[in-house]
Symmetry: C2
Subunit: 204 residues, 2 copies
């Protein structure tokens, strides 16, 4: 059974996965980490990494693809069939949190560098969804802000990033972080604090 594993293929796949994992961690620590750093951290030689990915660009690109897929999936799943903007945003935030935490590097890269051009583009549809949601909330008066929806979207993203950093620096317990982030974002969007707390705590 499963006779398709031609030789040491499974070990190679494991290596590939480990390289990706470690690359994520390493790039998170230092966005300019070299291929050698990544390779060594993965317990492998630089040459081997090039055996799996033709270039540094390709490696990061693979990482990004995985990240946007995971984010889009979590977001879509969380918001399915929820009509109230505040509740939809709350669910989206709670669902996005663990994924965003894991991939925060890519989010940061997406806003900043020209390293891999096209990250912005690949994240764009996700951002568009968020903007539409915010716009709807503003129109309905559920959200209140002097900022237009697109700018508010930036703020939301950066707030998630800020909370992630806080966790990283030990200022906040990881278990609480997701809920705290969600409440904070809702509050920033103009949802009264008690209502925001109630909304978020009323979810698993």
């Amino acid at each position: 059974m499963t006779a398709m594993t031609t030789g040491s293929t499974s070990r190679a796949d494991a290596n590939r996965r480990r390289i990706l994992d470690v690359a994520l961690a390493e790039l998170l620590r230092d966005p300019d980490a070299s291929m050698d750093q990544i390779a060594r951290a993965a317990g492998v030689v630089r040459r081997t990494v090039y055996g799996h990915f033709p270039s540094r660009e390709a490696l990061i690109s693979t990482l990004v693809d995985g990240a946007v897929a995971a984010l889009a999936d979590a977001d879509a799943r969380a918001r399915a069939g929820v009509s109230d903007p505040a509740e939809a945003l709350a669910r989206s935030l709670l669902a996005l949190w663990p994924v965003a935490d894991r991939y925060r590097l890519l989010i940061a890269l997406a806003q900043r560098t020209v390293t891999v051009q096209g990250i912005r583009e690949r994240l764009a549809p996700l951002r568009e969804d968020k903007i539409r949601l915010l716009q709807r909330g503003l129109d309905e008066g559920v959200f209140v802000s002097p900022l237009p929806a697109p700018a508010l979207a930036y703020v939301v993203e950066q707030m998630l990033f800020a909370v992630t950093e806080a966790v990283n620096d030990g200022l906040l317990a990881a278990e609480e972080a997701g809920r705290s982030a969600a409440v904070s974002v809702l509050t920033a969007a103009g949802v009264p604090a008690p209502r925001a707390t109630e909304l978020v705590t009323g979810m698993s």
Copy 2:
């Protein structure tokens, strides 16, 4: 008169200032900009830059020193003699805005890279002040947040950064940005939206 200008010294000083200005802009565009890029952008040869600053580190360091001085000054000036935390925060934000906008690169670097270690340290006292202010507001119940004061400070900083980016991308008018940012931050800190708006608009 002013006989102390020994030769072409004044021209040299102008060059030095221009290099610093241009370096700020260039590093803002690309945090990894090379000395050559900076020099050319300043209409000067690389060698000349090394005539004014012994190293890349030294150049950036000078930039950082200027930034923290300007920020600290604006902050202290704005908060002098204001006791209400909400009002103090509002004044601080409005005063900090133009400076933070100009130096946003350094703020970003401060949170992120290890490029120039010590940026964090130099910004620390400023951050400490902000944390104390937030803590006082939380204690008095003027601010409401599930986040502890230090984490909230991160959020405040990142929100300013987000609004800056929004302006940069043309999503928001530059004149409105400062006030909008202030209102947004206050709202995120749990100050009810109407009160936040009133506070901010009641200032020059």
